[in-house]
């Protein structure tokens, strides 16, 4: 497991290659990259600033990676979450999952992102022309995370 919090950008291809690392048992690598949007609800965004609770964020991400590894037969997981000031078009978060089959890699990546959105202690502040404001949590994100507690993933065929 590789879970990192950092201000620097990350290289998606390099992170995926590091998980593969010459192995031939991996059949699927899913990468999800969260990117800073330049508009929100019709208003331009100059940048976002991510505040976080460092020790808890590290612990919380590690707990959810361990939970993903318990639920799906994964062959590698990398999570990188940036903090600090991030401008439109720049990367915010990366999840990479590797498995023998795509269903497990897709499901684990989605599970991890849903939990990062609602449980990892990060808070976004947006810089808008009308001033800067904290982003409000979305109910749709809570619903997305809740579905993982309602049902277990189907066993891989």
């Amino acid at each position: 497991m590789n879970a990192r919090l950092q201000t620097e950008d990350f290289d998606v291809a390099a992170e995926a290659a590091a998980l593969r690392n010459g192995r031939t048992d991996i059949g699927a690598i899913v990468t999800f990259t969260g990117v800073c949007r330049g508009t929100e609800a019709g208003e331009p965004i100059a940048a976002i600033t991510l505040e976080h609770y460092p020790e808890m964020a590290q612990a919380e991400i590690s707990r959810h990676v361990a939970e993903a590894e318990r639920r799906w037969p994964l062959m590698g997981v990398t999570v990188v979450h940036r903090y600090g000031r991030i401008e439109p078009g720049d990367n915010i978060v990366l999840v990479v999952t590797a498995a023998a089959h795509r269903q497990d890699a897709f499901a684990a990546a989605e599970f991890l992102m849903d939990y990062l959105k609602t449980r990892a202690p990060f808070w976004k502040r947006e810089e808008r022309p009308s001033g800067s404001a904290w982003v409000e949590a979305r109910e749709t994100d809570d619903r997305a995370a809740a579905r993982w507690t309602r049902r277990k993933p189907e066993a891989a065929e």
């Binding site: 969260g34 991510l50 505040e51 976080h52 609770y53 020790e55 808890m56 964020a57 612990a59 919380e60 979450h81 915010i92 978060v93 992102m113 990062l116 959105k117 609602t118 449980r119 990892a120 202690p121 990060f122 808070w123 976004k124 502040r125 904290w134 982003v135 409000e136 949590a137 994100d141």
Partner: protein
């Protein structure tokens, strides 16, 4: 007993500090009771904890619901719903 309390995002901004050591009175047993006690410490605290239902809490870096007993906690954090990812 003294405990370290951390505040994040708009909770931190409203209170005007990121962390402090506090000594809640003996009657404050749960996280919810602690929020209520903090709210009575001044205008800035009252503003931060005006709607305790939207405040999330963690004890020693683990999410907890408000009815959780503080017990021997070393570090208690209060923050708004998370918006990472």
């Amino acid at each position: 007993m003294s405990v370290k309390v951390l505040y994040f995002a708009w909770v931190r901004e409203r209170i005007g500090k990121a962390q402090e050591e506090i000594e809640p009175p003996a009657g404050v047993a749960t996280v919810g009771e602690l929020m209520h006690w903090l709210a009575g410490r001044g205008e800035e605290y009252a503003s931060a904890f005006a709607n305790p239902r939207v405040i999330r809490a963690a004890i020693d870096r683990t999410h907890v619901p408000p009815e959780t007993r503080i017990g021997q906690a070393n570090e208690i954090a209060f923050f708004p719903p998370m918006t990472g990812g």
